[in-house]
Structure formats: C-alpha cells, structure tokens
C-alpha cells in the first residue's frame, strides 16, 4: 500500500539537473508532484491573491474614506466587497494553509511526500483557473458578482453574465479544497513514520487532520447549494424561489452549514501554527497537548451545529434561536481552553521575541479580542442589534486578519529558513510586524464603534455621523496595505540569500522538520525516521 502511495516515478528523472529555458521551467512547475514544490506554489499563489484581494479592500476603504460617492458607483462597490471576500477566503487564506500543509505535514510526520502526489498537483492547479474565472468577471457585461460572498438568493440570481462563472469558480475552488483535504487525510493516516502514534503528532498536523475532515463535511454542501442556484437560474427549478413554492431561507441554511465550519477551516490551521511557534520561542513544551487536541476536535464538532447563528434575524422559531445561541456560546469553552493553554505555555518559559513569536503573541491578544466580540454576537437579543452592522465586520476581521492571517505570517517567518536555507532579515521582519499590528487595530477597532452606532455593512456611502471613524479606519487600511510590501521584500530577500540557516534553525525548535537540513532537500524521509 504505502510503497505505491509515494511512488513519484517519472518526476525523478527530471529531478537533479536544473531545467534550462522557459518552457522546461514552466513544465517543471506545472507538472510537479513534489510536496515542497506544490507547497511553494500554493504559498506564492496565496501571496499574489493577498494583494489582489487587498487591492479591492483599498478601493473599498478609499470609497469609504469620506461620505459621498467619489470613486465607485454603488454597483462597482458591491462587486468589490463580494469579490474581495471570495478572493480572500477561497483564493488567499485557504491556499496559504494548504501550502503550509503541503510543505510541513510530510516533514512533521516523517513521510517522503503527500500520499497522492498527482492529485496534489491537480488540487493546486485548479486554483489559478478558478480565481482567474472569478476575477475576469469584473470585465463581463454587468460586471462581477455583487450579491455578497454569501450569494443569497434571490439577489444573487440578479447577477449578470457573471453568474455561471461565479458558480463554476466556486465549484472548482470546492473541488480543489476537497482534493487537498482527501490528500491530507490519506497522508496523515497512512504515511506517518513508524512509532508516530496519533497522539504524538505535532499540533499543526493535528489541526490540519481535523480541518480536512471539516472540509470534507462542509464543501460538498456548498457545492450542492450553488448547483441549486444554477438550476434555479437556468433550468426552471424553484428551490429558492418563493413564487415557485421554494424557500429563499433554505439557501441560507445550506450556505451557513458550509460557512460556519469554513470559519474553523480557516482558523484551525492557524491554531496549529501558533501551537508550534509559542512552545519553540518559550523553550518549553506545549501546555496540555492532549487537551489541545480534544479542544480542537470539540470546536470542529460544535462548528457543525451552530450555523443558524448567522441567521438570527430571518424569523426563526424561538426554540431554534435558543438552540443556536446555546451551542454557539458553548464554543467559547474549548476556545478558552486553547487560549489558556497557550498562556500557560508562556508561563515560566524562557521567552524570546523573534518575528514569528511576535505574530503569535499578537494573535493571542487580538484573536482573543475577536473571540470576545464573537461571544457578544452569540447573545441573540444583542445580536439583533449587531447583526449586519460594522460590529460584525470588525468581529470577523479580527478573527481573520490578526487571527488567521497572523497565523500565516507567524508560520511563514517560522519556516522560511527551512524552506530557503537562509535566515530572513529580522529587522525588516520586526518592522513588518509592528506596522501591521498597529495598522490592523487602527483599521478594525473603530469599526466596532461604527457598528454600535448603527452603520450597516456593505454600504458604499453613509450618514456624516459615521464620518470620523470611517476616516480613521480607511487611513489604517492604507497603512496596513502598504506594510505588506515589506513582507514581500523580506521573502524575496530571504529567498535570494542571507545568513545560512542551521537544520534546527531555532534554539527551542523540536520535531522531525528540524532534523532535515535547511533548505529541506527536494526529497526527504525516503527512509522513514525513527521516532523515540
């Protein structure tokens, strides 16, 4: 079984001599089945998408800098918010963590490669096409989808020529995620080095195993939902059309049955990275490893039974509202356990503050803040006031930017020396960190106030009473956007050269990935390592 699983024949002949010329170089990257190559492709692609989605965010914030419409007409504005969200969720953050999984899971469990290398190639190469389809809709008659990334009917059915492209792009992105999830599960279940029992796996691998199951559960539901949209539009069905006996709210249930697990698909791998980084720079083992695993699993399970907390204003029965309020609040318990355990890992450690640790600590503070606003949102009567306002925008950006994205930043700085063989520029890394952490708060903290004062989300223009905080938020966003250029520069500089990295890289680092040389050779663990 396992001998055929990591048979990477065909590729091995090409490997060894550097390809010369443009076409062989392109073919090498298009046809690669190597987990490190594919990991790199995922990561670079997500970096590109960070700037595409980020550029849209800059346009949104430019329009919201002051009241009145200056740059975008309302249709374009709605297209920007819709495509920004789709790109950031499906094109940026999910591929980023898939990239980390590709690179690090085989290294962490002592496997020679992913179990299904050709599938791996395909799951990556679907992404650029799917994203291109989505982005090109901006140039279609009627423009890009403008009904929000949540694609609620009947509004989404009013989308112009972009509609089938939207559905097809979501299908492709979904297929890509499902294939990646299958690959990760099969790899972890079959290719662990002898002696590495499940409860000896590093936390990052654990969180990805659980994430992959969540993806398998949630993604097909989304695919089904958008297919029903497609048939409603083109084949005369009425799944979501009240006039034809259907139910528009049904789509919301389907969407959020996918959408809430999706939230954890995004954050759990970040939890995993943070659980690697904090022990390393505290020089102390992760506190409560088993509890961390169980907490992650409980969060994943609970995420499947809370979806309707996104829908408290649709007119649910009282019993439904109470049920979803309680299940949502319960999630705070395992999430709290994680935060307390990270804090306990710091406790009596020996802390140093390299860039990965700085991002991890900022994650600890700011993700927790997003968790608190999440608890506030769980209280149904209060949610009636917060729902669909900037308070929600602030909440989910706190868990997605200083949450998930900071997790990805921490992971990048943490493993960059392993990938490139060079240390990154610590001074620039710290500059990137401080600018990012300041501007992220200047951007998103005032949005809590805007929401509480009554500013709805997804509006291109607003009453002047909201002008001051919007102005601050926009300035913060421009700073946040600009600061990411430093990140790109640090990565390029590190890839090109710099002080040689040792195999262990960090003084406090433990685990199989730190036993292979830096940069990690093209093929690692051809012979399974021994686990003590």
């Amino acid at each position: 079984m396992s001998t055929t699983a990591f048979d990477t024949h065909g590729h091995d002949q090409a490997h060894g001599q550097k390809p010369t010329g443009l076409v062989p170089w392109i073919l090498r990257w298009v046809t690669t089945t190597n987990h490190k190559d594919i990991g790199t492709l995922y990561l670079l692609f997500s970096l590109l998408m960070l700037f595409v989605g980020g550029g849209m965010a800059m346009l949104i914030r430019a329009e919201l800098l002051q009241p009145g419409l200056q740059f975008l007409n309302p249709v374009r504005f709605n297209q920007m918010t819709t495509v920004h969200a789709l790109i950031m969720v499906f094109g940026m953050i999910m591929p980023a963590f898939a990239g980390f999984a590709n690179w690090m899971v085989p290294l962490q469990i002592g496997a020679p490669d992913m179990a299904l290398p050709r599938l791996n190639n395909w799951s990556f190469w679907l992404l650029p096409f799917a994203s291109t389809l989505l982005i090109l809709t901006l140039f279609l008659p009627g423009g890009a989808p403008a009904g929000g990334w949540t694609m609620y009917p009947p509004l989404v059915l009013q989308t112009g020529d972009a509609f089938p492209f939207l559905i097809f792009a979501v299908h492709l992105l979904g297929v890509s995620s499902i294939l990646a999830a299958i690959n990760i599960i099969v790899t972890i279940m079959n290719l662990r080095a002898p002696g590495m029992s499940l409860l000896k796996m590093p936390m990052f691998t654990w969180t990805w195993l659980i994430t992959a199951y969540l993806l398998l559960l949630a993604m097909p539901v989304l695919a089904g939902g958008v297919t029903m949209l497609l048939t409603d539009r083109f084949f005369g069905t009425s799944f979501f059309s009240a006039a034809g006996g259907g139910d528009p709210v049904l789509f919301q249930h389907i969407f959020w049955f996918f959408g809430h697990p999706e939230v954890y698909v995004i954050i759990l791998p970040a939890f995993g990275i943070i659980s690697e980084v904090i022990p390393t720079f505290s020089r102390k083992p992760l506190f409560g490893y088993a509890a961390m695993v169980y907490a992650t699993a409980s969060i994943a399970f609970l995420s499947l039974v809370v979806w309707a907390h996104h829908m408290f204003t649709v007119g649910m029965p009282l019993a439904g509202q109470l049920f979803f309020m309680l299940t949502t609040m319960i999630i705070a318990v395992p999430t709290g356990v994680k935060v307390f355990n990270w804090t306990a890992t710091l406790w009596k450690g020996s802390l140093s503050f390299e860039t990965p640790m700085l991002f991890a600590l900022a994650f600890l503070f700011l993700f927790t803040l997003g968790g608190f606003s999440g608890l506030m949102l769980a209280i149904v009567p209060a949610d009636i006031q917060y729902h669909d306002t900037y308070f929600v925008v602030a909440h989910f950006h706190y868990v997605l930017v200083p949450g998930a994205l900071f997790g990805a930043f921490a992971g990048t700085y943490y493993w960059l020396p392993k990938w490139t063989g060079h240390m990154y520029d610590e001074k620039l890394g710290k500059l990137h960190f401080w600018l990012t952490v300041i501007f992220v708060n200047v951007t998103f903290f005032p949005q809590h106030f805007l929401g509480l004062a009554g500013m709805p989300r997804r509006i291109p223009d607003y009453s002047p009473q909201f002008a001051d905080f919007n102005f601050i938020s926009s300035l913060g966003a421009f700073g946040l956007g600009a600061a990411q250029l430093i990140f790109v520069y640090v990565i390029i500089k590190c890839a090109r050269g710099g002080p040689k990295a040792t195999a262990q890289v960090w003084e406090g680092a433990h685990g199989l990935e730190w036993t292979v040389p830096s940069p990690a050779p093209h093929h690692t663990f051809a012979e399974p390592p021994e686990i003590k």
Binding site: P285, N341, L346, S352, I459
Partner: protein
C-alpha cells in the same frame, strides 16, 4: 485619556470610557474637543426591548472586559517576567489537571449565567400578542411600503430628493450640507406613542431587512415569508434607520424614518391619510 472621554461623553454612561481606554491611541488622534462626535456605544433606545438589549449588551461587555483583563494581565506578566533576555530559565511542566478543569468549568458556568437573562429577553421579544396596531412592511428594490392594513392606508417611502441628488457619483454636493443625509425619506412611517405596534415584514423581490436601532427592531424582509415583530415606543419623536440586508445596487439608499406622535396627532394624521386615499381612489375611477 479615559478621563477626557468620560467627561465629554458623560451623558452616554460609563461604558464608552472603558472602550476609550482600550482605544487610547485613537483617542489621542481624535483629541478632546472633537471627541463628542465620536459615538462609541450602542444607543439605549426608546423601547422597553431596546433598554433590555442595551443592558444585556453592557452585561456581556463587562463580563468579557473582566475576563479579558485577567487573561491579558497573565499574558503581559508572562511576557515581561519570563523573558530569556532577563535570564529566565524554562520550566519543564506540560500540564496541570486542576488548572485545566478550573478553566473549563468556570467559563461554562459564566456562559450559563449569561444565557439565562438572554433567554428571558428573547422570549419577551417573541411575544407579538395583543398588538394594538398592525402595519405590513414590504421591502422593494429600493424603497419600503407601509400598509396600515386595518385602515386602508398604504404608501411607499423612498430616499428624499436632497440626499438622492447628493449621493450621486461625484455629485459635487457636500453630504454634510444635507440635513439627515441618507437618513431622510419623502414619507415616513407614522405610529402612535405608547402603543404596541406589530409589523408584518415581507419583501416583493429580494431579501431586505428593516432596522431602527433605537427600537432594537431588526427583521429580515423575505419574499414568501411574513415575519412578525413588535415594538412599543415610549417617547414621541422622529427615529431613523436603514435597510441592513444587501439588496442590490441601492441597498445603502433605502432609509427608514418613523415618526412617533401622540395618540391625537396620530388620529389626525390617519384620517387625513384616509381622506387622501379615498380621493385618489375616486379620481382613479
């Protein structure tokens, strides 16, 4: 910093002062003279429900703040105290069952304590019985229709002309010169004070959502559904809100205005509307 915010914002209670403290940097940016323009907290509102919700909001806010202070204090202490550069040597422990049980059980207890009052409020909010006035609210792209179903009065309510002119792309009109910019309509909904008003909320095309923040009423308007919601306003006045469910191009431009009148003023308004409806019906024939 906190003190500045407090003195300028005394009327709105003590909550903003803490929020302001959290936001020290922004408070510096703002400076004290302009601080009064920065609304930090949810309005308490003018209905019984809105007061209940405000209290719940403040309760959960303070609970979160207290927990946050504890957790953040522990994090900051660890970061300061256990620095390698200060000579900290790492301990070896990797779990502590007692601590883990405590920080699993205590949050669970706090959550139950929060859920109980929340459930009470929720049950009261769902009780739409014994309404004294029923208005059907229909969302259209992009206007609201109010139908006083027992009185035969029915009209549309759209963004007023001045706001509409100023909100066009590069209109050249400064929104700050338009009174109630984007929050003014040609014909507001009118209801009597101290009356339990029941809204039947629905939509004709796509999903909208009817929200007046000071009433704490937010109800999605969904085609094919009739959602019930109620409010009793305690103070006369004019109250404003907006559509809060993305409903297409002009989602940001379908405000809600509700005028709350005394019972006699309301009756006068209603009879004038009835007369007008009668006239238009006659001329229509």
């Amino acid at each position: 910093m906190t003190i500045i915010a407090f003195s300028a914002d005394r009327a709105r209670g003590r909550a903003p002062c803490l929020l302001a403290g959290l936001l020290g940097t922004l408070a510096c940016l703002a400076g004290s003279p302009a601080w009064a323009d920065y609304k930090l907290n949810m309005p308490e509102g003018v209905t019984t429900t809105s007061h209940e919700i405000y209290d719940l909001h403040m309760l959960v806010f303070w609970v979160c703040t207290l927990i946050a202070l504890g957790v953040y204090a522990a994090m900051v202490y660890a970061i300061v105290k256990f620095r390698k550069s200060a000579g900290a040597k790492p301990a070896k422990f990797s779990h502590n069952t007692t601590a883990e049980v405590i920080w699993t059980v205590i949050p669970a207890v706090i959550l139950v304590a929060l859920a109980i009052p929340a459930a009470g409020t929720l049950i009261r909010m769902n009780d739409t019985r014994n309404a004294q006035l029923t208005i059907k609210v229909t969302g259209y792209q992009w206007r609201w229709q109010y139908d006083y179903i027992d009185d035969g009065v029915k009209f549309f309510s759209v963004l007023d002309r001045k706001s509409n002119a100023a909100r066009q792309l590069r209109s050249g009109i400064d929104p700050k010169t338009v009174e109630n910019y984007l929050l003014e309509v040609d014909k507001p909904m009118v209801v009597p004070v101290n009356t339990k008003v029941r809204l039947l909320v629905t939509a004709a095309d796509v999903i909208h959502s009817w929200w007046v923040p000071v009433f704490a009423v937010k109800q999605d308007a969904i085609p094919g559904y009739i959602n019930e919601v109620w409010f009793t306003v305690r103070e006369e006045g004019t109250y404003r809100g907006q559509c809060v469910e993305l409903c297409g191009m002009d989602h940001g431009f379908m405000p809600i205005v509700v005028r709350v009148l005394s019972r006699t003023e309301y009756d006068t308004w209603l009879s004038s509307q009835k007369a007008a409806a009668q006239t238009s019906q006659n001329t229509g024939q």
